[in-house]
């Protein structure tokens, strides 16, 4: 029977030609954590995100020697155990988890979506993440020109950064909305720049721009703040990219505190992601994943979204929407042979059809960009 023989964690860093910024920082590099899992059957799986951390380094037998088909048990074993006043901790091995799903699919000669759940769709419509701030003399004019270019590429929904202060935020959202017209969806993301009082005041001024959602207006764990915003504003609220599946279900989904949850596979894994899909459907909360990495994460997200149950109601967002990052990232075109570009005709991407995640990792590129390598065997 197939057994896991080793885990490699590759930390990659790529330098940007031009720095970009958002409400709380600027960057001139992009990074990624890739998890590679080897087996004695010659199959190799890849994922992106957590690998189990110190718990796995100290207890390699929690993974090494086990079958990749023990994916649920491995996911659970790499949580920190219950102790003293705290229940069992959040999952820590999301990237490893995705790699195990990749291996299972390859062993069964099936794309991951076929074994993950019912496939509701084979084409998924992403939204475009771009429109950060750059070293432009006029931010509003720079963003408006960039937004026109993304619309011309065929994207049906764009997301822009805000959180630079209420006056500038209103100015740049107005400029982008005017540039793209009313037939393209627009969302804004403040990266937790405001407190709830400031967010209510700004939100009322943003209501006229017909926004699809406002992402992270305030700290993700300010639950009372989100409750206040939900009552005060007409704009749908979105958050959750750094939170565990347990936390999202308890604090956002079951209480219906936000309109859209945005989990990232590099934290929740496909095992946690599948659970989130069911809870979102049962509680009628929209799920639009965060996705900020290499095409490994994008491929895994496509398989996950293939299996997301549709929400009832003609006004619901296209159920399969997810984030497609279009900012500069040298890793994106290098580490995976396949690229994921939208079809300009419908703004959609096809779910990969080959076994496993359906991608080929380029080892030479992984080596070229690697700044750290951890091996567990």
């Amino acid at each position: 029977m197939i057994r896991i023989t080793g885990v490699k964690v590759h930390t990659l860093t790529g330098r940007l030609r031009q720095r970009f910024g958002w409400s709380v920082n600027w960057t001139d590099t992009r990074t990624a954590t890739l998890v590679e899992v080897a087996t004695d059957a010659g199959l190799t799986g890849w994922g992106e995100g957590g690998y189990g951390g110190e718990r796995l380094r100290r207890n390699p037998e929690l993974v090494i020697g086990r079958s990749p088909f023990e994916v649920e048990g491995i996911f659970e074993d790499l949580r920190s155990p219950a102790q003293a006043q705290q229940r069992m901790g959040p999952p820590t091995s999301a990237g490893l988890d995705v790699a195990l799903w990749d291996i299972m699919g390859q062993a069964l000669d099936k794309p991951v979506c076929r074994i993950l759940g019912r496939q509701y769709r084979q084409r998924v419509q992403p939204y475009c993440t771009a429109l950060y701030r750059k070293d432009w003399p006029d931010l509003a004019a720079g963003l408006a020109a960039e937004a026109r270019a993304w619309k011309a590429k065929g994207f049906q929904v764009l997301k822009m950064k805000i959180g630079y202060g209420p006056g500038l935020d209103v100015e740049i959202v107005r400029a982008v909305r005017q540039a793209i017209g009313e037939d393209v969806g627009l969302a804004v993301d403040a990266n937790c720049a405001y407190d709830d009082g400031a967010a209510v005041a700004l939100g009322r001024r943003l209501e006229e721009f017909n926004l699809m959602w406002w992402e992270e207006p305030i700290w993700a764990d300010d639950l009372a703040g989100y409750a206040r915003l939900r009552k005060a504003l007409k704009i749908p609220l979105a958050s959750g990219e750094t939170m565990s599946p347990d936390w999202l279900i308890k604090n956002y989904i079951q209480p219906r505190l936000v309109d859209i949850v945005q989990p990232d596979l590099d934290i929740v894994g496909l095992t946690g992601g599948r659970n989130l899909s069911h809870f979102c459907r049962l509680n009628q909360v929209r799920l639009i994943p965060h996705n900020w990495g290499t095409p490994i994460g994008t491929a895994a997200t496509l398989h996950w979204m293939s299996c997301l149950p549709p929400m009832p109601g003609p006004a619901a967002t296209p159920a399969g929407a997810f984030e497609l990052d279009q900012t500069e990232n040298p890793l994106r075109a290098a580490v995976v042979k396949q690229t994921f570009e939208i079809d300009p005709l419908d703004g959609c991407i096809q779910v990969p059809t080959r076994p496993g995640l359906g991608i080929d990792v380029v080892r030479e590129a992984v080596q070229e960009y690697r700044t750290e390598l951890l091996t567990i065997s």
Binding site: I2, G73, A107, L108, R118, N275
Partner: protein, 259 residues
């Protein structure tokens, strides 16, 4: 190994009606000669019209099949697919289903439930609001193992005790044991609220003769061991099955076994 897993394909389903004891036993055949067993509904109404929803597919598509047959009752078929997955991998179902926290599970008597009903808020199916329930008792024959896993996680997150109902054959009992092996302890105490199920399979029950394993609770601790064999870890006695059978339906190709 890879060739065997990737070529595993369901060729036929047989539903045995055992009206005398009120159960349906499901037998699922694959081209590789592996046979999976379940006890409960099998989506027959839909499958007779659309056999392609299951025939020709891999048992590893169980999650997909489960949701494609929804809302048709299908717990027995789902159980048989899990049995097949375990057998194909040479592993007991509990090791594929989740993290096995225990290898012995407490068998509760119906009187224990009656006592709990006096002190706890008990529900038979998933509630509209979790804070209305202290203890949930679904039956794996109704919810399938695929549904059971979703319920386990929801119960753990909401601090609701799981104590499944289990009415049927030892096949269903085995599925319940594999399920409960993976239910996380409710607290970290040395003696946390016990994980248990309602044990109705008395020594004299005719359904109890259906498998070669007796599944009797140990008198010393009241527990039943989780089967260790591959899949559900039960072996059906075809002679007993034939003697209890009152009717059968076959879809696709089922290789006749010596009775």
């Amino acid at each position: 190994m890879k060739a065997m897993l990737s070529s595993l394909s369901i060729t036929g389903i047989r539903a045995h009606r055992l009206d005398g004891i009120g159960v349906t036993v499901i037998e699922v055949h694959t081209g590789a000669g592996l046979v999976g067993w379940g006890d409960g509904p099998w989506g027959g109404e839909v499958l007779r019209r659309h056999p392609g929803l299951v025939l020709g597919r891999s048992p590893f598509e169980a999650e997909s099949i489960f949701d494609e047959l929804s809302p048709e009752p299908r717990g027995g078929l789902d159980m048989a697919l899990w049995d097949l997955m375990g057998k194909a991998l040479g592993k007991p179902v509990c090791e594929l289903f989740g993290k096995p926290y225990r290898r012995r599970v407490l068998a509760g008597e119906p009187e224990d439930y009656a006592a709990l009903r006096g002190s706890l808020r008990v529900a038979e199916s998933v509630p509209a609001a979790w804070d209305l329930v202290d203890l949930l008792r679904p039956d794996v024959g109704a919810v399938g193992l695929t549904g059971a896993r979703r319920i386990s996680y929801a119960c753990w997150l909401n601090d609701v005790r799981l104590a499944p109902h289990c009415a049927g054959t030892p096949i269903r009992l085995a599925a319940t044991l594999h399920w409960l092996a993976s239910v996380p302890p409710l607290t970290n105490a040395l003696n946390p609220p016990p994980v248990f199920f309602e044990y109705t399979l008395g020594e004299q029950s005719p359904a109890g003769r259906l498998t070669k394993e007796p599944f009797q609770a140990d008198h010393s601790d009241g527990c039943v061991a989780v089967p260790e064999g591959a899949g559900l870890g039960v072996e059906v006695d075809r002679q007993v099955l034939a003697s209890l059978r009152t009717g059968q339906i076959t879809l696709g190709v089922v290789r006749e076994a010596r009775a």
